[in-house]
């Protein structure tokens, strides 16, 4: 810790950007332009939506596990939602739709991109703030109304959107088919507004990473989290406008009577699917790349070893980013698309397994023979890797179109997407939140309750989602209100009940995290500057860092993963420390061992 202490004392010069933020409360915490505050605002917003999306999932699980039984507390809901407490099919459809929409667009995506893109990019590259702080603020304050508008769907006539999170046309385009009119319009408007927010965020991130890096922070000294967030921002920038375009066309079909997706008037339902998935598949990587990047940082830290194969990690991130554009058709093998085209998409999809596997083996190589510290973020990061492998492998199954024909739109798909989105992204988010929490709030989270939360989540998560593979292979449909209506699914009902009970336990476990998060904010132990003995530039700053970040612009001498270095008495060398052997001399990159 001695080195860190000296480093920090060097930041007491008054030449830099760091200063006391003396603006009034509303400018400092509400309409703030400080990237750190905006990151925390996104954190609070998206954790709220995570809770909301989770609650809707519980409604679905109740209905699937115990169809026809009154939902606990269901009588409190309006009559359009429940009948004597029993969930109505219309409400079930809305719950399915809004669970997916909230989780993808308002929970996981802002948690990864909005929170950590904002919080980490300037700190880790040594910048005073984002390139465009006011646009950054606008990005958050357009995301909030978008979320509220999406939520408002529940309170209007006809209820919220109910055509699935993919809103396939013509089901979504014609209100006479679902009985939902305003809710679906809100869905489109909300995503268009959220799209603006994402685009403002992404060009800000890209400009910041390209133009605002501190001296010495060249591209191959960037932490992998920043590389991943950079490539993700490129995907957001180019994919989201396609969704906005598609949502606008859908909105016009619903409101001003155009016929883009209505086959009766010459429109093409398949066009919606192409547009949606052309956005949707890069979106999948938007939801996993930042998770991979942050997990890489945390795993190297926990293993006290340089990341294995830094350059190949970067190239894998970039190639996933590129390949992600050419695979959207694998969502549409059963849509009536030309089967020859399906084969092309199958091959391109299988190719993505290669960079993904490179990353997985590099993580294993990093842990191999490491002196592993099992701190809470490390536990979550290791769970991320293992769960991602399961989700990735079932992904290879589905990429093969002959097999996909069999399991298409079954619970096998649901199992897969939750293994990558919950097992992958959300475990990495738990890792990242617990890892950077001390920096964000200046206090440590409780490690004991962190561990309890981790183990219970890991167990109940697998109890919830693993049996879904079995359900799917048995033919359980992805979207079905009451599985017991079919004899062949009735025999699987005990599995459904087991999944539901595990899901309730999983949901309950998350309150441990919420309590730990909130209580630690006020009562947690004061965090030191560098609790995890990490090399990143953000750990050289006080916790939380001052407005404007760095008192003097830091100079970077090395990559971010120099752990257990023979050149240092400590087992880590922060990026801004010159080589101990000769001051300022260039030090070789910690590429693969």
């Amino acid at each position: 810790m001695a080195t860190t202490a000296t480093d920090t004392s060097a930041y007491t010069h008054d030449h830099g950007n760091a200063h006391v933020d003396d603006r009034p409360f509303i400018r400092k915490y509400i309409f703030s332009t400080d990237h750190k505050i905006i990151g925390i605002q996104f954190l609070i917003m998206s954790l709220t939506f995570l809770l909301l999306g989770g609650t809707l999932a519980m409604v679905m699980r109740w209905q699937l596990g115990f169809p026809g039984k009154p939902l606990p507390g269901g009588t409190l809901l309006p009559e359009t939602y429940t009948n004597n407490g029993v969930v109505l099919p219309e409400f079930y459809n809305s719950a399915v739709t809004m669970h997916g929409t909230f989780m993808v667009f308002f929970a996981i995506m802002p948690l990864l991109v909005g929170v950590f893109g904002n919080y980490l990019i300037p700190l880790k590259i040594g910048a005073p703030d984002m390139a465009f702080p006011r646009i950054n603020m606008a990005s958050f304050w357009t995301a909030v109304p978008a979320g509220l508008l999406m939520l408002a769907g529940f309170f209007v006539e006809g209820g919220s959107a109910a055509a699935g999170w993919t809103s396939y046309a013509p089901l979504s385009a014609r209100s006479d088919l679902t009985g939902v009119h305003l809710g679906q319009i809100f869905w489109c408007l909300s995503l268009i507004i959220l799209g603006l927010s994402s685009i403002m965020g992404s060009f800000n991130y890209i400009t910041t990473v390209i133009n605002m890096r501190a001296p010495g922070m060249n591209w191959f000294r960037l932490p992998l989290s920043i590389w991943a967030l950079f490539v993700t921002a490129c995907l957001v920038l180019l994919a989201i406008p396609v969704l906005s375009g598609a949502a606008i066309l859908l909105l016009f079909d619903q409101t001003i009577g155009t016929h883009f997706f209505d086959p009766q008037a010459g429109g093409q339902p398949l066009l919606w699917q192409h547009l949606f998935w052309f956005f949707g598949h890069p979106e999948v990587y938007i939801l996993i790349l930042p998770a991979m990047g942050m997990a890489s940082d945390i795993i190297a830290n926990g293993a006290r070893k340089p990341i294995f194969g830094y350059t190949s990690m970067v190239l894998a991130i970039i190639s996933i980013g590129f390949l992600g554009w050419g695979v959207w058709g694998h969502h549409m093998f059963q849509s009536g698309m030309n089967p020859t085209l399906g084969t092309t998409f199958m091959i391109s999809t299988l190719l993505i397994a290669v960079p993904s596997a490179i990353k997985t083996f590099n993580w294993l190589g990093t842990i191999w023979q490491g002196n592993i510290t099992f701190h809470v973020p490390m536990l979550h990061a290791l769970a991320f890797v293992s769960m991602f492998v399961i989700g990735g492998l079932s992904g290879v199954f589905m990429a093969a179109s002959p097999f996909d024909i069999y399991i298409h739109d079954t619970y096998f798909i649901v199992a897969h997407l939750h293994y990558v989105l919950f097992g992958g992204s959300l475990f990495a988010i738990f890792a990242a939140v617990t890892y950077w929490y001390p920096k964000m709030f200046g206090r440590m989270m409780n490690p004991f309750w962190g561990r309890v939360h981790f183990w219970l989540t890991l167990v109940f998560y697998n109890f919830t989602f693993f049996p879904m593979h079995q359900l799917g292979l048995h033919g359980h449909m992805r979207r079905i209100y009451d599985p017991t209506q079919y004899a062949f699914l009735r025999e699987m009902q005990p599995v459904n009940q087991f999944i539901s009970i595990s899901a309730f336990c999983l949901f309950a476990t998350q309150f441990l995290f919420a309590a730990n998060f909130i209580l630690s904010w006020f009562k947690g132990e004061k965090a030191p500057n560098n609790p995890w003995l990490d090399n990143g530039l953000e750990w050289t700053l006080p916790s939380p860092p001052p407005h404007g970040n760095f008192a003097t612009v830091p100079t970077v001498y090395r990559g971010p993963y120099e752990y257990s270095s023979p050149h240092s008495d400590l087992d880590y060398i922060p990026q801004n420390v010159p080589t101990p052997g000769g001051a300022g001399a260039a030090h070789p990159q910690p590429a693969g061992d």
Partner: protein, 206 residues
């Protein structure tokens, strides 16, 4: 890239010394990146148009001979928009040379031509709607209004920003060393102009 001291003199570059950026100031880089996103947006609309038109050529039968569109008027409007790109270039050149008076006049001309373009488009819409050619009028109406409408929306935003930049220019906020706003709005303006040339060709002419 130039060393820190040299960069410090150039107010258009990022404020503090940086490792190795793109060599352009943030606003310009940001605008280029943002335009990448705009390209994708218009690609989605144009792609939709191309697919629907190839799939249902009957919805466009007789076009352009029996089209409800008034092509000569729109051709003049296209010419106007191209002219506004020229005035934009002149404004930027004046900013680089530090000639305040020309800068103000050329910016004003650009904003006014842009506003005229939007005005002519509104006129075109009202006439088409009077003739019964509405957005719900088959695939042709659907795609026509969506594509030209979103272009018009972009021009309108451009005119608003151009007005803001013009007011700033009249207040003398742009100098020979720092005229970021003029260059950045110029990039957007040329992009929107370029999109129109593509739209005019595929929607009106082909």
């Amino acid at each position: 890239m130039a060393h820190a001291a040299a960069m410090h003199d150039d107010v258009m570059l990022p404020p503090s010394s940086r490792a190795a950026g793109a060599g352009v100031y943030n606003e310009k880089l940001g605008m280029w990146i943002f335009l990448g996103s705009e390209v994708m947006f218009f690609t989605a609309l144009i792609g939709t148009y191309v697919i629907l038109r190839f799939a249902h050529p009957d919805a466009w039968i007789g076009h352009p001979r029996t089209t409800p569109l008034n092509i000569p008027v729109t051709a003049v409007n296209t010419f106007l928009l191209i002219c506004s790109s020229v005035t934009m270039v002149k404004a930027f050149a004046a900013a680089q040379d530090g000639i305040q008076r020309s800068l103000r006049l050329w910016l004003l001309a650009t904003a006014m031509i842009g506003a005229t373009f939007v005005g002519v488009q509104v006129y075109e819409y009202t006439h088409l709607i009077e003739k019964g050619f509405v957005p719900s009028e088959g695939l042709f109406g659907s795609t026509f209004y969506t594509m030209t409408g979103f272009h018009g929306f972009h021009v309108t935003i451009g005119v608003l920003c151009m007005t803001y930049v013009t007011i700033k220019a009249f207040r003398g906020k742009y100098s020979q060393t720092d005229h970021r706003g003029v260059e950045v709005i110029g990039l957007y303006w040329h992009f929107v102009d370029l999109v129109w040339i593509i739209l005019f060709t595929i929607v009106y002419l082909i």
